[in-house]
């Protein structure tokens, strides 16, 4: 009966491991992040997830939407639990599955950084993902140290909006000397998936920092989630790069970087900012991008 059409174009793996029925808000970037990561890694994966939106998204007891084993764990323990799973299985010679900690920015930049630092120092064989929505969303939008300068949150009210830069966790993790650190965005699933596939093949601690807009917390239109993420890349708000054994590679270099203003204006969390504030933010972005370019120039395998 149906006219025979050619197949739909699929630029990312077809199999859906994460299933619908989950509890993410409409237009949630974090749910996209998981969908892509699992497409990249397949089913031979064990996840552990600390307190964060994802602890809710997966569904309540006795259900799960994700299709792979998940250990829900205490907020500050994501990396340590993953270490335990990985080393525990190694102790009995079962090291086949990919062990992945999957945590929010709060659980990573703040309360979980110690466990992460420890795992990285021991170079435990895990992937650590932080899906970054730049605040504590699960508890209702409080600042984290990943919250960018200028943003409103409930603990950085408009009169005291967040002051100070986002913690540079990427550089911190690079300083830990781990074999692989990469940033990725839900707006660029193909890049993201390639990075997970690469990470799965490397032994030791891999750190992936995934940009995941949150319409609820950013006061943005759920329909704009992907657009906002794309703009973050195009404005250099969130550069897409990777560091392998200390060697930098910027994966996406916008031919002409867009103005941060465009990015900010899509999000209610920034609507109180003055022109001057925006200028300050723009300058910082440009300065940081320059530093990153320098790092790529001086610290890359090519340069050696």
């Amino acid at each position: 009966m149906n006219e025979k059409k050619k197949d739909l174009t699929l630029s990312i793996p077809k199999e859906e491991i994460m299933q619908p029925g989950h509890l993410a808000c409409q237009g949630c970037g974090a749910s996209l992040a998981m969908r892509y990561a699992l497409k990249a890694l397949g089913r031979n994966v064990i996840l552990d997830i600390p307190a964060c939106c994802w602890a809710v998204i997966d569904g309540p007891f006795p259900y799960s939407a994700t299709g792979v084993p998940i250990y829900h764990t205490a907020f500050e323990t994501a990396a340590a639990v993953a270490s335990g799973i990985s080393n525990g299985l190694r102790s009995v010679g079962k090291s086949g599955a990919t062990i992945m900690a999957w945590a929010g920015d709060g659980g990573t930049f703040d309360i979980g950084i110690q466990a992460l630092s420890g795992a990285a120092e021991r170079n435990d064989d895990i992937i650590y993902t932080v899906y970054d929505n730049e605040a504590y969303m699960n508890t209702g939008i409080q600042r984290s140290s990943a919250t960018p300068h200028g943003a409103w949150t409930t603990t950085t009210p408009v009169k005291h909006f967040k002051k100070g830069e986002k913690k540079d966790l990427d550089s911190i993790m690079v300083a830990h000397g781990i074999p692989y650190m990469a940033t990725a965005s839900i707006s660029h699933p193909e890049d993201l998936i390639k990075k997970y596939q690469k990470a799965a093949k490397i032994r030791g601690t891999k750190f992936l920092h995934v940009y995941a807009p949150c319409p609820t917390g950013w006061k943005s239109d759920p329909a704009m989630t992907v657009k906002v993420a794309k703009l973050a890349v195009e404005t250099n708000v969130f550069p897409i790069y990777e560091v392998e054994n200390g060697n930098y590679r910027i994966n996406i270099k916008p031919s002409k970087r867009k103005e941060v203003k465009e990015y900010l204006s899509m999000q209610g969390r920034f609507k109180h900012l003055t022109e001057e504030d925006v200028k300050y933010i723009q300058e910082n972005i440009d300065r940081k991008w320059d530093t990153l370019l320098k790092k790529e120039q001086y610290f890359s395998s090519k340069e050696k």
Binding site: D7, L8, T9, P20, G21, Q26, S31, A65, P189, P215
Partner: protein
């Protein structure tokens, strides 16, 4: 774990010893979250797969043209704004 039944836990002995999942979330038809529905116009669709790629549920099947799974579509509108040909429209279900 793939069927869409709710798990029956009516008495203590029904409960697993550990707090583990026993079923998927497919019983949870999130259609009730939606206040409009995305409708794909097959004539405008070029089969690029972008809507499928960016649906967060996922609630789009990768047919050509794609089909929306209205049991689960939450009506976020991402597919609508990402479709390069504006093949998807927003249909009010309210009134």
């Amino acid at each position: 774990m793939t069927d869409d039944k709710k798990v029956e836990l009516n008495k203590v002995s029904d409960y697993p010893e550990m707090p583990v999942s026993l079923g998927s979330m497919l019983w949870n038809k999130t259609s009730s979250w939606r206040n409009f529905k995305p409708v794909i116009d097959g004539t405008k669709c070029i089969g690029c797969g972008i809507c499928w790629k960016f649906c967060p549920e996922p609630a789009i099947f990768p047919t050509n043209p794609p089909t929306v799974d209205y049991d689960f579509c939450k009506g976020c509108g991402i597919c609508i704004s990402e479709c390069p040909t504006k093949a998807i429209s927003k249909v009010d279900e309210t009134r």
